[in-house]
């Protein structure tokens, strides 16, 4: 009976994951990300490069509204660097003593300033399309990290002949429906990395994906390191519980 139960439980779990993977079948490229293992975390240098790609390219259209400038400390930046970065952006504040609204440079406690004041303004500047907020993008798509990477590299110069592109749309290998409003954002050498890494399309796509994976799950490293301790503790406790149970039941025939 125990075997039977295990087999059924396994089949059930497999069923859940295959159920989650259903939908239109588009095979995403599978990348071996540095933070996927149970013990591994982000590469800070990569996150910094990813921030650079986000800042110079994505941020033109996409907001990152759930992330605060102070969170950039996770990427290895110091207080002054974060202040300087935030200072590049203007936020509206107020009202002041005169009752007037005013703009001031952003400070570390502000959230990332959005490129557009509202959705309508964003649509008006983007041919009617709304560039979504990227804070949770990695968690909001199936296989989110690979999906995001695929979005960056999936453009082709020529659409296959059987696809009729709509006005202002671009052909994309991995996007559902294969037509995407976003023009190809990255290509070789779009940014010039300050750390000297060669800015190939692939490198930039991976870096910005890493940055957005961090933005979606800033707790990831803390979560895993606490998780290892909790599981170790429970394992020891389990061994003790089994020993206690055996000792208590030693003289009972059952």
């Amino acid at each position: 009976m125990r075997m039977k139960v295990l087999v059924i439980a396994a089949a059930f779990l497999a069923g859940i994951s295959s159920a989650q993977a259903s939908g239109e079948k588009i095979e995403l490229p599978q990348i071996d990300w540095s933070w996927k293992g149970p013990f591994s975390g982000f590469d800070k240098a990569q996150l910094q490069r990813g921030l650079q790609v986000y800042t110079e390219v994505c941020a033109t259209c996409h907001s990152l509204g759930l992330v605060a400038y102070r969170d950039l400390a996770d990427l290895g930046y110091g207080e002054e660097e974060i202040k300087a970065y935030a200072g590049n952006y203007e936020v509206q504040d107020g009202p002041d003593d005169e009752g007037e609204m005013y703009t001031r440079p952003a400070i570390p406690s502000d959230r990332f300033v959005a490129p557009f004041p509202n959705e309508n303004a964003a649509r008006a500047s983007n041919n009617g399309a709304y560039p979504p907020d990227l804070s949770l993008m990695v968690k909001a798509r199936k296989d989110g990290t690979n999906y995001l990477y695929a979005m960056m590299i999936g453009y082709a110069d020529e659409a296959p002949e059987d696809i009729q592109l709509m006005e202002g749309m671009n052909y994309h290998k991995y996007f559902a429906g294969h037509q995407i409003a976003m023009p190809q954002p990255l290509s070789d050498g779009v940014v010039e990395y300050t750390d000297g890494t060669e800015a190939t399309l692939d490198q930039q796509a991976k870096d910005v994906t890493a940055f957005l994976a961090w933005a979606a799950e800033p707790e990831l490293e803390e979560r895993k390191s606490l998780g290892i301790k909790v599981l170790l503790f429970l394992f020891v406790l389990f061994v003790m519980a089994v020993a206690v149970k055996k000792a208590v039941w030693r003289d009972i025939k059952h």
């Binding site: 059930f12 939908g23 968690k139 909001a140 998780g227 406790l237 389990f238 519980a241």
Partner: protein, 420 residues
Amino acid sequence: MATKTEFNNPVVRWVDERLPVFTYLDHEYNQFPMPKNLNYWWNFGALASVVLVLMIVTGIMLAMQYTAHVSMAFESVERIMRDVNYGWLLRYIHMNGASMFFIVVYIHVFRGLYFGSYKAPRELLWMLGVVIILLMMATAFLGYVLPWGQMSFWGATVITNLFSAIPFVGDWIVTWLWGGFSVDNPTLNRFFALHYLMPFILFAVVGLHVVAVHITGSNNPTGVDVQSPRDTVSFHPYFTAKDSVGLVLFLFVFAAFVFFAPNYFGEPDNYIKANPLQTPPHIVPEWYFLPFYAILRAVPDNFIGAWMGFTLINAKLAGVIAMFGATIVLFFLPWLDTSKVRSARYRPVYKWFFWVFLADCLLLGYIGSQPAEGAFIWIGRAATAYYFAHFLIVFPVLGWFETPKPLPTSISEPVLKENS
């Protein structure tokens, strides 16, 4: 509570003479006689009560940080995840706790089905259990709406719309449930209030469930009644020790999900803020509702109407009735099962039907996760028909035809035989 326990501590004695809570605890959780042959499947009731407490505690802490407003709910959950100290831990425990609760309770239910724990004199105990499942489902549904993601919103829309199937007053009831003309801020507010209320009702019913099991005593793998003190051991230390083993193992699995795969049971779409203008491509409920979702969708158009010539019932209403019926039928199980033998160990035919039924439930779960098209529709209908046939045909008929294996004369007998 015939005899009072004597306590040495003067304060405990003073309180106990005036309010015998310590005597009660001593009787029910220390001396309480348990069949000594219980296997680890009997851990799951205790596990469920631990999860319930964990859900209430984490839930109260989350509620201190959560804002039930359509324009702030989604962001407030993300603030919990990012800015509240260990907020991510609280929320992931609560989120995965819902799945763990259902896993544990479903195993508890199937254990009851296998060993016949619903039969006399435990009918009321079983029926309280069915009430608990219904309350759990309502609570889980209400809670899933609170993060105000796409699945929250559209799940709430689909499920509340089911009530529109009620003849004559359906639409009126739906408007009343919503507090408006669509799922909106009033809906979110009341769902939050109810999601906070229901667990305490649930807790009270669990209390009754526990009182009831302490009246009849636990069933056991042989299904044979306890006959003498030789068949039992005291709850403490024997079952506190045995339950601890299961509990720690369970917490290990729970923690593995919370820390290493916290979104395994979730839908990515719920990390997109609710948008009433954009329907997600597939609206799927949480995994623990999938079998019921499959039953809901299984009833074909005009099936009942054509069959019974009864125009009041359309397919939607029939589906809703079938879905609720799938749980309600459990209330009648103690009387639908005509076999006098409790445990499937001594029911050679029922044993097979049990596994077929379990497989049928898992199949329904799979169908519920798939779009309602092609072969899935027919498999879903067949599996639904079998679900009800299991209760309405197999249980009554099997009791008459099946020849059970000879029962042991007591719980101790098979043990003593093995050991001699």
